[in-house]
């Protein structure tokens, strides 16, 4: 072990799991290839390879996380003295574990591929591997007998590989690689049932919308690379793609403000597309055309989180580029705030349970973006962590309902209701996750969402704090409505055991087991299908409920990973995930290009000077020459129960009001029709009397919420569907029309016309000269000699 005083500690070993974390995405990538080529020949049609690779990744990720925790603990024991002076809040600097191999080169400079492992990367690695594993296990049952079972698992595995390789990317190019691979897989998975052109269109829309945002990613990467490259090469010996290099450059004070701003804006545009932020969120609800496990994976831990992750990954660029510490409004926070409200309002008017969840995801991503935009980095990352569990659980529960409860329908109003009794496990897990999402103490969402709201206010973004609180109210309300419609009240449609014929054709989720093009039917298929066709709603099999239970229990306890209300000893997330803003000597973290096989930065020395005041650390001062820092000193709000109780009250109000409203609105009509009042006149009278007080609220809600909020939501939906979507569609139509016009008139007429004209001219000349070709040899001879004679004459004249 090296002493803290040693100036170079590059040889420090970080432990096997940390040094070989690059294997985490390799496993599923290899599994993908195997499934594609050999999957159909395997006994479980390739799904076993997918699941096994995800379990392998999970083991590796957990091992790495464990070693990371040890490493941070070691660092705390080691440094103590010199590094703590960077400020009261500062944790000791723990360098990321970076390995890079040469991937490509240009102009003699080599660029790498490899791994960059730190707390943020590990958080995501563990979450992604974990959720992917559960989703794959769930899919074993959910897609049983699907005609493209093998393809599905291949794509799902590649999807995880893409996300994992993006998460541990040490440079922007690898990040783009993972980013785009996910785009491809989302295309394949959303369009999984491509026989229906609507699904194919949804897949295209998802890919295309995200691709529009990717323009920003390409441009932003370019801007940052060329602006930072000289500095990073000189000071750190890495290229301008390198993530720690970019971070250090952004914090160095030498960076050009305009480059930072343009780079940050461009990158954020990519995040808007990927993370479904306003106004590019329209693809997300359409993406529900894919199978439910896909939605679950897409919306909880991969794909849409990628945008948030990108902002969190190169946070210093955004921190400086958007001037996050110095303003009370900026681009990121604004977009995040708008998204929270817009999406939450939309969730009220959906009939499709998955669309409610989709808008909910959009809204929650808005929270994360708002948090990042307002300087609450840790809270936002923590919200990624907790949100992954309960959102995955919600989607899987919705899938479970459609699988076993509503005969493959997702329509809450038509085919659900009263399922709580029939599907107790699904209902329990759903309710736990709903409460977690709404932010009820002490479930996961409370700790993360409340912390975002709290810190947003603390950092001077008061207006956005109010937006966040409104969002919390709306979240609670729409989730209560969805819960009520699905699990309580009267059973309707399929949930009541009826079968609508149109379900067979209406819903993409239908498993067409008679399809001759599909795989050979295996025994389970026909049997399993009949099973739930003949009986009414029932609980799902274990392969579905076990993942649900695991996720729900995590939704219960995940919040305690960073439970700010219980004091700083509970803030483990802060300790292990948040990078240190300390100044360190540049040469002690100096990298040596990707040619070098391994580079593990140990405990670097603290830079001389930089005596600690309370507000010292990056972003408040610029590092001295020879020093760098990799992360801004973000401040943290101190938890106060008064604030916590306020937000809890808001959440409770949302839950209760929406719940009561739902009962009145959805079930009361039925009661009148069926005439339940006759059960007991006294009880009923008292009940109604009690309710009379509430009648004010209900009437209020009926006339305010229904007459104001619902129209607004509807208008937003209309705006969404017609204006924003309309613009997207219209621009597509217009560009096609322009393209057609350009092709017909300019290409075919002008450009090609010029070519053809020159051809015609040559032909005309030929036509004119044709009579000379008489075919008579004598005439040719005459011409020849005449020409020679004239030539000779001319020669004579010229020479004389």
């Amino acid at each position: 072990m090296l002493a803290a005083e040693a100036s170079y500690s590059v040889s420090q070993s970080a432990g096997w799991f940390l040094e070989n974390a690059w294997l985490i995405p390799i496993l599923p990538a290899v599994a993908f290839a195997l499934v594609i080529f050999f999957g159909k020949k395997l006994p479980m049609k390739g799904s076993e390879l997918g699941v096994a690779s995800m379990i392998g990744s999970l083991v590796l990720a957990v091992g790495a996380a464990y070693q990371w925790i040890q490493r941070v603990d070691d660092a705390a024991g080691h440094s103590g003295s010199s590094l703590m002076k960077a400020g009261g809040e500062s944790t000791p600097f723990v360098g990321p574990v970076i390995r890079e191999w040469t991937w490509w080169q240009s102009g003699g400079v080599e660029f790498g591929i490899g791994q960059h492992i730190d707390g943020l990367a590990l958080t995501l690695l563990v979450v992604v591997a974990f959720i992917s594993t559960l989703v794959q296990i769930y899919s074993l049952e959910y897609l049983r007998g699907d005609r493209r079972y093998t393809h599905f698992f291949a794509a799902l595995t590649l999807f995880s590989a893409g996300m994992l390789s993006m998460v541990l990317a040490p440079n922007m190019v690898q990040l783009i690689l993972g980013w785009e691979i996910m785009g491809l897989c989302s295309f394949m998975l959303i369009g999984h049932w491509w026989e229906d052109q609507a699904n194919a269109r949804a897949a295209l829309k998802a890919f295309f919308t995200v691709r529009v945002g990717d323009v920003g990613l390409l441009v932003g990467t370019g801007v940052l690379f060329f602006s930072a490259n000289a500095w990073t090469q000189q000071n750190l010996g890495v290229s301008g793609f390198n993530i720690s290099g970019l971070s250090a450059w952004a914090m160095s004070g030498d960076a050009s403000q305009s480059a930072l701003t343009w780079g940050a804006v461009a990158l954020f545009i990519a995040c808007i597309g990927k993370s479904g932020q306003f106004p590019l969120h329209t693809w997300l609800p359409d993406a529900m055309a894919g199978p439910t496990p896909v939605s679950s994976l897409l919306h909880s831990s991969t794909m849409v989180v990628a945008g948030v992750f990108l902002v969190a990954r190169v946070y210093p660029v955004f921190w400086e580029g958007m001037s996050i510490p110095d303003t009370n409004i900026n681009f990121i926070a604004l977009i995040g705030g708008i998204t929270i409200v817009i999406a939450a309002l939309l969730a009220f008017v959906q009939h499709d349970i998955k669309k409610v969840l989709a808008y909910s995801t959009v809204s929650q991503l808005g929270y994360m973006m708002l948090g990042l935009g307002a300087g609450a980095w840790l809270a936002a990352v923590f919200h990624i962590f907790t949100h992954a569990f309960f959102k995955a659980c919600l989607f899987l529960a919705a899938g479970s309902v459609s699988h076993s409860g509503s005969h493959h329908s997702f329509d809450m109003k038509k085919d659900m209701g009263g399922l709580a009794k029939k599907m107790p496990i699904t209902a329990t897990t759903w309710i736990i996750s709903t409460l977690a999402l709404a932010g009820v103490f002490p479930l996961a969402g409370f700790f993360s969402k409340d912390e975002i709201i709290d810190n947003v206010g603390h950092n001077g973004y008061q207006a956005f704090m109010i937006v966040g609180l409104c969002g919390a109210f709306l979240t609670a309300a729409y989730m209560a409505r969805a819960t009520y419609l699905t699990f309580f009240g009267e059973a309707r449609g399929s949930a009541a055991g009826e079968h609508h014929d149109e379900h067979a054709t209406d819903h993409a989720d239908d498993h067409d087991s008679n399809d001759a093009q599909g795989h050979d039917d295996h025994g389970h298929d026909a049997h399993g299908h009949d099973d739930h066709a003949s009986h009414g709603p029932h609980e799902s099999p274990k392969l579905i409920t076990v993942p649900l239970l695991i996720l729900a229990s995590l939704a219960l306890v995940a919040g305690f990973a960073n439970a700010t209300p219980f004091g700083s000893s509970w803030e483990r997330f802060k300790k292990y995930v948040e990078p240190s803003p300390a100044f360190v000597a540049a040469e002690s973290t100096m990298a040596s290009g990707p040619g070098e096989a391994i580079r593990v930065v140990g405990w670097p020395t603290a830079a001389e000077g930089g005596e600690g005041e309370a507000k010292a650390g990056c972003s408040y001062e610029s590092p001295a020459p020879g020093e760098v820092c990799y992360f801004p000193a973000v401040s943290h709000a101190k938890f106060k129960w008064s604030k916590g109780l306020l937000s809890l009250a808001i959440v409770a109000a949302g839950l209760v009001s929406s719940w009561l409203f739902s009962i009145q609105y959805y079930t009361r009509r039925n009661r009148r029709l069926v005439g339940l009042t006759e059960r007991s006149r006294v009880l009923r009278g008292g009940y109604l009397f009690l309710w009379n007080k509430y009648y004010l609220d209900v009437l209020y809600e009926k006339y305010v919420v229904r007459a104001v909020a619902y129209p607004i939501a509807r208008a937003a939906n209309w705006f969404n569907q017609n204006v924003i979507d309309g613009v997207v569609n219209a621009s597509g139509r217009i560009s096609r029309r322009v393209a057609g016009w350009v092709y017909r008139n300019i290409d075919q007429r002008v450009v090609d016309g010029a070519v053809n004209t020159s051809g015609a001219a040559a032909r005309g000349t030929g036509e004119a000269l044709r009579p000379i070709q008489s075919g008579k040899v004598n005439q040719y001879g005459a011409l020849l000699f005449a020409a020679a004679a004239i030539g000779a004459l001319v020669l004579v004249i010229i020479n004389t």
Binding site: W103, S106, V751
Partner: protein, 524 residues
């Protein structure tokens, strides 16, 4: 200039071996088709063998140096020599031309287009191979020009004899258009020779040698350079093809037989861009700087315009042809930045485009063979009828739109990046505008390729092809999935697209030193 002269017989053998095959085939009666196929394939494989041996003998540590260099008197009276050599810029293209020929031969085994006659068809292909390989090894302008023109004739006949409905028109257009460009190019070459001869220092002998001209080309005055560059520009730009010289391409591609389209896309288009990076820009640095913004402008117009062209097409093959205009736009944008990154991107883009678009044309050919139409609106549900062919189309489309992890990305992404920071002396703001336009072009690329894929492969098959027995004569027999010959011919393409996409360093490390040499006039 430093050169390596070891084993300098290799390139001559590799280039002219196909002609031996042609000679042998001359003496085999026309009716013996199997034997013709066998001889042609054996020749192509032997040529590739020589190519692979060349690859193993190539000194990768000195990829910037001309290797296997030979220099013999050829036409003394015009100071033209038989100068050949290979460096990192030409090696991948040289090998690519050989690989493509072999694979196309394999594909031809049971895909000789009507009106048959494998003897003529395969002989032409072998001659074509000599022309292509020769262009990439030539280090003498006249030699380059000769090979450049040798390529034209076989292609003309391939389109004109084995082509589609309008083959006469297309082949003539192709020939005349390219001839028009080469005429100006030749004038420019000659002018360059005489001008440089006038400016040479004492004791240096004038010749058409490219290394010599690269060394002394900078001595010319600016206006002379600009005019000479203009001539070369038109010659190469027609071949690339750049907007607005591209109109021969869709016709030629649409009418050419599948094999012709594949070779055209995979190798022939690269002759133009190769001309830029090998001849026009290194020999005339001043003019290159002057012209670069205009080249860049035409390149980005090509990117957007090609994409519009694609969106408007109703014919699958024509769409793929137009996509070449857009993709070569990225290549030219990379070249116009005059930076190592841009050049590397361009060279990578050439190889990647060759592989990917070649693959797309193969698929289009097989679709045509099965459905007897390429009308997009008539196709549909291909994934259902022929899942493998459908997925190969999807894969190629993804590669073509520049998905990272596949080869196309490494031509596109660094080219876009490079445009942010072009060489010293070029207008930075202009190029940054180009960068954004090119980045938007990638969105269009996604649009037209995926739209194509969605329309042809997703959904249910159209009733006329659903094969329920009483259609209009298209029995189920036609609609078979990928067959063995196709697999053999395609697999190397597919593997190469993935391998170069996952580990691009394989090619970048070959290009990069040579690119630095080529750009030495621009101060790195």
């Amino acid at each position: 200039m430093e050169v390596l002269r070891d084993q300098n017989w290799l390139l001559t053998v590799g280039t002219f071996l196909p002609m031996v095959g042609v000679l042998v085939m001359l003496f085999i009666p026309k009716a013996d088709e199997e034997l013709h196929k066998l001889v042609a394939l054996a020749t192509a494989v032997a040529t590739l063998g020589v190519g692979i041996y060349t690859l193993t003998q190539f000194d990768f540590d000195q990829a910037g140096t001309l290797q296997f260099f030979a220099d013999t008197e050829w036409i003394k009276v015009i100071s033209s020599n038989y100068t050949i050599g290979l460096d990192g810029m030409s090696l991948p293209l040289y090998i690519l031309s050989m690989v493509v020929t072999v694979l196309v031969m394999i594909y031809s085994w049971d895909h000789i287009p009507s009106p048959g006659n494998p003897k003529a068809f395969l002989s032409l292909m072998l001659i074509l191979q000599t022309g292509m390989a020769g262009t990439f090894i030539a280090q003498d302008l006249i030699l380059f020009f000769v090979f450049f023109e040798v390529v034209l004739l076989p292609m003309y006949f391939m389109i004109g004899v084995w082509g589609g409905e309008q083959r006469q028109y297309a082949s003539l257009k192709f020939f005349l258009y390219t001839m028009f460009g080469s005429a100006l190019m030749l004038v420019a070459f000659i002018a360059l020779f005489f001008k440089v001869r006038g400016a040479l220092p004492e004791g240096v002998e004038a010749s058409f040698s490219i290394p010599m001209l690269t060394e002394y080309g900078g001595l010319l005055g600016r206006s002379a350079q600009i005019w000479i560059f203009a001539g070369m520009f038109i010659g190469f730009a027609v071949k690339v093809p750049m907007f607005p010289f591209h109109t021969w391409l869709p016709d030629a591609h649409t009418q050419a037989p599948t094999q012709g389209s594949v070779i055209l896309a995979a190798v022939l288009l690269k002759l133009g861009t190769y001309g830029f990076v090998r001849i026009a820009i290194p020999t005339l640095p001043e003019a290159a700087k002057e012209w670069a913004p205009w080249i860049g402008l035409l390149a980005v117009i090509g990117i957007i315009y090609g994409a519009f062209g694609c969106l408007a097409q109703t014919d699958m093959k024509r769409l793929i042809a137009f996509s070449s205009v857009a993709h070569m736009g990225f290549v030219m944008l990379g070249i116009s930045t005059l930076t190592p990154m841009g050049f590397n991107a361009a060279l990578f883009g050439m190889v990647a485009h060759g592989l990917i678009t070649g693959m797309l044309f193969f698929v289009a050919g097989s679709v045509k063979e099965r459905y007897h139409t390429l009308e997009i609106s008539r196709l549909g549900g291909m994934l259902k009828q022929m899942p493998k062919l459908g997925w190969i189309l999807g894969f190629s489309a993804m590669a073509s739109l520049g998905l990272p992890g596949l080869a196309g990305f490494w031509g596109e992404f660094p080219a876009i990046l490079a445009a942010y920071s072009p060489a010293d002396g070029l207008p930075v703001e202009t190029f940054r505008t180009y960068m954004i336009i090119a980045a938007i072009g990638t969105v269009f690329a996604a649009a037209y390729l995926l739209w194509l894929f969605q329309r042809t492969s997703f959904g249910e098959p159209k009733p006329e092809f659903s094969g329920d027995g009483h259609g209009d004569g298209h029995g189920d027999d036609d609609l078979h999935d990928v067959n063995t010959y196709e697999w053999i011919a395609w697999t190397p393409f597919l593997i190469a697209i993935v391998v170069f996409g996952v580990y691009p360093q394989l090619m970048f490390q070959i290009f990069d030193p040579a690119v630095e040499v080529a750009l030495s006039a621009f101060g790195g």
